[in-house]
């Protein structure tokens, strides 16, 4: 056990690709936590997906020992957090487990919206900020300019801004020294009833749920009965330990320390991120602040391409849910797509990740419908319902009003692009709130935007209009009344439920037209002429026709050709498997995502 004065807990705030994981790797290396030959890229990102995409999805932690210039050995706990807006709640909990944060900024690119938002979050949590410019070895690096920007933004002394190259290792020791000298030690009460905040929890099929915790007060030991204060879960500790960075069992976890607690619990739902663990015998009176339930923000239908895979999908979702308390799903039936699940996610990245994991880890072929947000509808009889799927939208006659979620968005961009970005926000029904110059050429725009407008490639558009320089962050605001209607797509006269959309009335025509044009290109010619219509209620607002396929036959078919031709027709046959048969019409999977691209033109 180390006295709290020799402990420092910190996390790293960085924009994607600004070098957070590389710096973490370097810290592990410099402190000999991991020997050189065991170093792999992105040590702390253990999922294949994380390494491939260069992102962190689950929080990780590591304990490193650092001998500081005062000759004493300090115990540093690094908590590596996800960086994406979808996971901002997880970030907030990781920050809550620390006394300080390294703010890592690419010395060439400067600060980005996500980083800005997370840094403010850290400041709000009273964390000491240690600014670090990374990639100073790059030719395009402008450390002086970026240092000035960073110090101006957060009221720091430019002289305190550290300069490193995580790639070469330059400056990494100085970072460790700064962690020791600038970040305060933990200040919990070692003798009070135990309290620990769960900053992540993962499910391990052999060991059950492993809670990643920061002990604030008291201590926790094996065999002790504990309670999760928000969920009320009562359980006995099977093992406690630290991250070195692999899990290493220990006798106790004491105030100020970061480590893990293993219980036999089978789902992360019972030990949720943000919840407070306390002793079962002498529980603390008050939970640590900040717990809230992670709520899904966007929803889409997930359908197995092969209907036989429905049970596989169900089991796979059940398994992922063990490890993902924010994943939420319920059975959904589509006339077009069969049986599947309406699935809720924290955001689009989360959705993407879940879908990819389902396909990759469970061998599923999935069709995801266009994502939408959750609407609140007041009916003419005064009752209020929540709608997560266009299919559940009542008839227009039964609707008194529709409310949709709004977010408060912060966009950071170079001044030159303000006009272009304001235009994008305007198109997206945004309400301007304010504009602020963070530095001479760095502007923060704040808009109130319907979440639904951000869900569909808003970010891509933002990037393309600013040549990649804009960054975006947002937080939930409230629900507001909007003139929203359901747009149906009819193929060969039949409405295809999986293609329905909830859209703003002013955009219905434009969207409908875009959808049918796009579908005309995506749906191959069939044996029959196929009409594609967009309709609001009974009123058709756009129409396209796919002419019939009139010729599809091979010229020659003799002796040796036969195998080849048979294979060709087999391929044609197999191709149909990836189509969904709706009535007489075969619709390729990607057509169901056609709507996603409409605004890209």
């Amino acid at each position: 056990m180390t006295g709290q004065s020799l402990i420092r807990n910190f996390s790293i705030i960085a924009h994607i690709d600004h070098g957070k994981s590389t710096l973490a790797d370097r810290i592990l290396e410099v402190t000999n936590t991991v020997s050189g030959r065991d170093i792999t890229e992105q040590m702390l990102d253990t999922m294949d997906l994380e390494r491939e995409r260069g992102i962190t999805i689950k929080a990780q932690a590591a304990r490193v020992l650092h001998q500081a210039s005062d000759g004493r050995t300090y115990m540093l706990h690094l908590i590596d957090t996800p960086g994406h807006v979808d996971f901002s709640y997880e970030v907030s909990r990781s920050l809550a487990a620390c006394e300080g944060a390294l703010l890592v900024v690419d010395a060439a690119q400067g600060i980005q919206a996500q980083t800005l938002a997370n840094t403010y979050l850290a400041i709000d949590n009273n964390l000491e900020i240690v600014p670090v410019l990374n990639k100073i070895d790059l030719p395009a690096a402008e450390p002086d300019r970026v240092a000035e920007e960073v110090s101006e933004l957060f009221g720091l002394d430019p002289g305190d801004v550290l300069r490193v190259s995580a790639k070469t290792g330059e400056g990494v020791r100085e970072v460790l020294d700064a962690i020791v000298s600038r970040i305060p030690p933990p200040s919990g009460d070692p003798d009070a009833p135990g309290r620990a905040v769960i900053f992540d929890s993962i499910y391990d099929q052999y060991r059950g749920v492993i809670a990643y915790v920061r002990v604030v007060d008291g201590s926790f030991r094996k065999g002790e009965a504990i309670r999760a204060m928000a969920m009320g879960t009562k359980v006995e500790i099977e093992e406690v330990g630290i991250f070195s960075p692999d899990m290493l069992p220990a006798d106790t976890l004491s105030a100020g320390e970061v480590g893990y607690i293993i219980t036999g619990i089978k789902t992360v739902r019972d030990l949720r991120v943000g919840d407070t663990l306390t002793s079962g015998f002498s529980p603390a009176v008050k939970a640590l602040p900040g717990y809230r339930e992670a709520k899904p923000m966007v929803f889409c239908g997930l359908f197995p391409i092969d209907g036989d895979d429905y049970p596989v999908l169900r089991d796979a979702l059940d398994k992922l849910k063990l490890n993902d308390a924010s994943l939420n799903f319920e059975p959904e039936t589509s006339r077009a797509l069969g049986f599947g699940f309406r699935t809720g996610f924290l955001g689009l990245l989360h959705m993407d990740i879940v879908r990819e994991r389902l396909e990759r880890e469970y061998g599923l072929d999935l069709l995801a419908t266009v994502p939408n947000v959750e609407y609140r509808i007041v009916r003419t009889d005064g009752s209020e319902i929540t709608v997560r799927s266009p299919a559940d939208m009542p008839d227009p006659g039964e609707i008194e009003l529709v409310r949709e979620p709004y977010v408060r968005a912060s966009i950071l961009l170079p001044g030159d692009f303000v006009g272009a970005v304001m235009e994008v926000c305007q198109e997206r029904r945004g309400e301007f709130e304010d504009m602020q110059y963070l530095s001479s050429n760095r502007v923060q725009l704040r808009y109130l935007l319907p979440l639904s407008e951000i869900v569909l490639e808003f970010f891509d558009m933002l990037k393309s209009r600013t040549r990649g320089y804009a960054s975006l962050d947002y937080e939930m605001s409230d629900y507001r009344e909007s003139d929203l209607i359901k747009l149906d797509i009819l193929i060969a006269g039949d409405p295809v439920d999986a293609l329905s959309l909830i859209v703003h009335r002013d955009k219905a025509y434009y969207r409908g037209k875009g959808m049918v044009e796009r579908l005309r290109k995506e749906i191959p010619r069939q044996l029959f002429e196929v009409a594609i219509q967009a309709a609001i209620g009974k009123k058709v607002v756009a129409r396209e026709t796919i002419p019939a396929k009139r010729k599809d036959v091979l010229a020659k078919c003799y002796g040796g050709d036969i195998t080849r031709k048979r294979k060709l027709i087999e391929r044609q046959k197999e191709g149909k498997k990836r189509m969904k048969q709706v009535g007489n019409v075969e619709i390729p999977q990607k057509a169901f995502l056609a709507v996603l691209d409409i605004d890209k033109k």
Binding site: G307, D308, Y310, P311, R314, D318, E330, P331, E332, T333, F339, L527, F528, K549, R550, K551, D552, V553, L554, A555, K556, C557, Y558, G559, G560, I562, T563, K565, R566, L568, I569, E570, Q572, K573, G575, K576, N584
Partner: protein, 391 residues
């Protein structure tokens, strides 16, 4: 049917095969669009090659006795000199049954009266002339040398030599070809009074230099594909030809018996470089090499299902279709009904066949018919709360 003993697995040693193909891979020059194995020039190698073919035939022994059809393809079989061709044919036809159909493909430019006489003397009773087009411009676009008028002379020489079964091969969909151009080709073909006409749509290999060179024109003619077909089917039928296979038209009784046998799934042996053979469920191919005897064979064994699929695919290219019971077990009943209801497929007298409209979309029709039957959903399927044990 000769393949009815497929299932006993004893087909590795061919029994009596009635149909023989001989590949003669010599050409004056290579045509850009052709993907058969052939070599330009190299006629010095022809005698040794013929020897190799005859040796291969000898290897099959009695299996080749009583042949009903022999088909010399290429390449350009008539690039060989008459004497050599005659020698080879006499050795092969000696094993044919009386009344066998003996076809030689020929490049019109090579059929002078001497060649015509030689073919006739060697027992060839059917000649298929590779005309491709009578239009000089379109021939150039095909990369095809030779005088368009040669076809007329060749036909006359063949008639002179007593040939009473002449087929003309045309290509349509040539870069730069219009519907009117096709009509003129058809008329000039019929002026030669052929017994048989084959019309092949030009097939260009994806990514080939030819495709790159003619991309725009090929897109244009490609978009006219169905109109070309309508035009030629209408015209040739009006002129008394029977559209017996997707690309083949014949005066009544003059269908090519050799090819028909292939399409009916009968066994055949191919001799020579790159030649395919199919006996029962076995299919193999000689190496594409003049020294094919030393090269390694590619071989595969079909499953019964694949064999049946081929029966369907090939059967539906023919006007007479296919015996329903032969293919019933692999057909998707729902798709069959849908195709029938919409006028693409007809079922009559124990056979199914594609209608005129259906024949132009034979691939799509087959792909649909071959769809696996949708399995009925298991009873406890479906929403909400199916099979869920947790809350």
């Amino acid at each position: 049917m000769s393949t009815d003993n497929d299932t006993d697995g004893a087909m590795d040693r061919p029994g009596a095969v009635k149909h023989l193909y001989v590949h003669l891979p010599f050409c004056r020059s290579r045509c850009d669009y052709c993907d058969f194995f052939s070599l330009a020039g190299r006629m010095d190698r022809a005698p040794a090659y013929v020897e190799a073919v005859l040796e291969e035939a000898a290897d099959y022994g009695e299996a080749l006795d009583g042949l009903e059809t022999i088909y010399l393809g290429g390449g350009t079989p008539t690039m060989l000199d008459g004497g050599l061709l005659g020698k080879m044919l006499r050795r092969l036809t000696g094993r044919a049954s009386a009344g066998a159909e003996i076809t030689a493909e020929a490049n019109p430019a090579t059929v002078d009266s001497g060649m015509a006489q030689a073919l006739s003397a060697a027992g060839v009773n059917r000649v298929s002339l590779g005309v491709q087009s009578f239009d000089g411009r379109l021939r150039r676009n095909l990369g095809r040398s030779g005088d368009p008028a040669a076809a007329g002379a060749a036909a006359a020489n063949l008639r002179q030599a007593g040939m009473d079964n002449i087929g003309l091969d045309l290509i349509f969909g040539i870069p730069g070809q219009s519907i009117q151009d096709l009509q003129r080709d058809l008329e000039r073909a019929l002026a030669l009074e052929p017994e048989h006409v084959s019309c092949y749509e030009l097939t260009v290999k994806e990514g080939s230099p030819y495709q790159r060179r003619w991309r725009k024109e090929l897109e244009e003619t490609g978009s006219l594909g169905d109109r070309f077909y309508q035009q030629l089917v209408e015209y040739l039928e009006r002129e008394g030809f029977y559209w017996y296979e997707t690309s083949n038209f014949a005066r009544p009784g003059r269908e090519c018996r050799h090819n028909t046998a292939c399409w009916e799934g009968k066994d055949f042996i191919g001799l020579g470089a790159g030649a395919w053979s199919t006996v029962g469920l076995d299919r193999w191919r000689n190496s594409e090499d003049l020294g094919f005897r030393e090269g390694s064979r590619h071989s595969e064994r079909l499953t019964l299902r694949q064999k049946t699929e081929e029966r369907l695919i090939l059967g539906l290219r023919q006007a007479k279709g296919v015996i329903y019971d032969d293919v019933a077990e692999i057909i998707n009943a729902g798709e069959q009904r849908r195709l029938q209801e919409n006028g693409f497929l007809s079922a009559e007298g124990g056979r199914i066949s594609l209608t005129r409209r259906g024949r132009l979309v034979a691939n799509e029709s087959c792909a649909r018919l071959l769809q696996e039957q949708a399995k009925p959903a298991p009873a406890p399927y479906g929403p909400p709360g199916y099979g869920r044990t947790d809350t």
